[in-house]
Symmetry: C2
Subunit: 321 residues, 2 copies
Amino acid sequence: MSTAPRPGTGRVVALCGGVGAARFLRGLVRVVAPEDVIAVVNTGDDREFYGVHVSPDLDIVTYTLAGVVDTAQGYGLAGDTYALMNELEALGHETWFRLGDRDLAQCLHRTLRMRDGVGLAAITQELAERHGLAVSLLPMSEQPCPTRVVLKDGRLLHFEEYMIRERAPDAVERVDLSAAANAKPSPGVLEAIRTARVILFCPSNPVVSIGPILAVEGIRDAVAASAAPKLAVSPIVGGAAIKGPASQLLRGIGVEVSALGVARHYRELIDGFVFDERDHELAKSIADLSLRVRVTDTMMVDANASARLAAQVLELAGECA
Amino acid sequence: MSTAPRPGTGRVVALCGGVGAARFLRGLVRVVAPEDVIAVVNTGDDREFYGVHVSPDLDIVTYTLAGVVDTAQGYGLAGDTYALMNELEALGHETWFRLGDRDLAQCLHRTLRMRDGVGLAAITQELAERHGLAVSLLPMSEQPCPTRVVLKDGRLLHFEEYMIRERAPDAVERVDLSAAANAKPSPGVLEAIRTARVILFCPSNPVVSIGPILAVEGIRDAVAASAAPKLAVSPIVGGAAIKGPASQLLRGIGVEVSALGVARHYRELIDGFVFDERDHELAKSIADLSLRVRVTDTMMVDANASARLAAQVLELAGECA
């Protein structure tokens, strides 16, 4: 059923955040050979918790593709236990960012490897292979690039503090991607983009998932310079984020919370835009942005739905080529 | 039933290793008010495993006194799980030193507190209090003092490598306590010894449990200078260690593996020696070392047995005063 656009030397490069991207990739690897996919993943959410390096989006993508994710949560490992976390809590630690025992082991492994001097990209690929994945997973950068959210009251929060500890309050003044802007891409990222035969913006948060990736030194320019078809899938359906705090954050950077708002946000970088049939009335406005559009069911309720969506995206890519 | 020797300003100071000491302390706190006991605990076995600071003897003593130790093993927490450890193993880590999830949480807590600049003594006391203990627990030193075992083939092993990974081979050339010898005692240790009303050498390994404590700068001299009754309980019964590798290690430093050998090893520092009735034929030889002796059942099969032994020790201390 593969509908890969024009044969090329490069691979399908997907810019990824967490849950939405992971679910999309789960379908993409059913319609493209997994070894033909390079996922460039946001690390702006990374942070040390409990002495271990947590990479939420990398882990969500890895666990989802490996079929071991806790599907109810969208993150973490299915059937994980919380013995260590509960004990830390009993010892008086703040535990608003909860990590299961096995999830924590993955993060501890990452931490110990980093301390041994191994880069995050190599560690990520090792972990992906241990999980049996053939997809290439690349962190956007190996340097710390914490995304920060500035609230209207002036507080500057790490994204996870904003999202998890504070439960994504509305009062967002702006999103600070300066750390990403001062970071270099991981080895292989720019090369992957330059040689890509398709570049996909996964249905992830444009501000705090795709935004940090594009902010990393050279990535936005490399995407802009690529002659490959470039397509985005809207993470906004019916005027709201499917999951997560997109609304507050989009408004925080002056973007309308709609598929049209997202299309406008990406328009200079993309050729095609795929959005949900619930938003079909926006088709003309989006097409008027000089974008090829595809209106379809974008709700990835299961792997088959993900695969159908991925096939549609690739079909549209073929039209953009 | 308390038979505490002459009232004094100081407290009962117990020099402690792991399991034997913990079981003895469990009895001691039944015959002396717990807040009247200061345990000075060996940290020569401490090591970082999996990125966390493990203090085996401190934890054995804490868990045993709190009644939460895994009694079958003598260490670790009863009912602990091993999800994190098993996952680390699956990720390719050496896991010969196994830590349960909750046990690991304690060690991680210690590590995070140390990283915050808190000393090991304060952290140990915090953990003891969280476990509801009234005893004062003092690590012998806050500095790293790894005990090393030199094998006849020239290999130099950390004590835990010798003990756990290599399963205590016989071919011991010598025990290297140079790290302890270059370390300073924890705050409060020398003061506790100087003002002690009794000093007890718990039934712990004389070489690798009590040896490191005495090796720390100033501790041996402080013990020697103390006018308080000083008593040791033999960890050797019937010519063998009750638990652990005492035989190999005692031979490795030229000490006969018997209650008599241990009494000779300690004789310059102690006034009295308590040993097992199975070794009653050694009573005259030990008494001939100018030691007051008490022959009794030293097998601490339960807390009552521990309390009976502790009472005997304190009674003998009264005679030494």
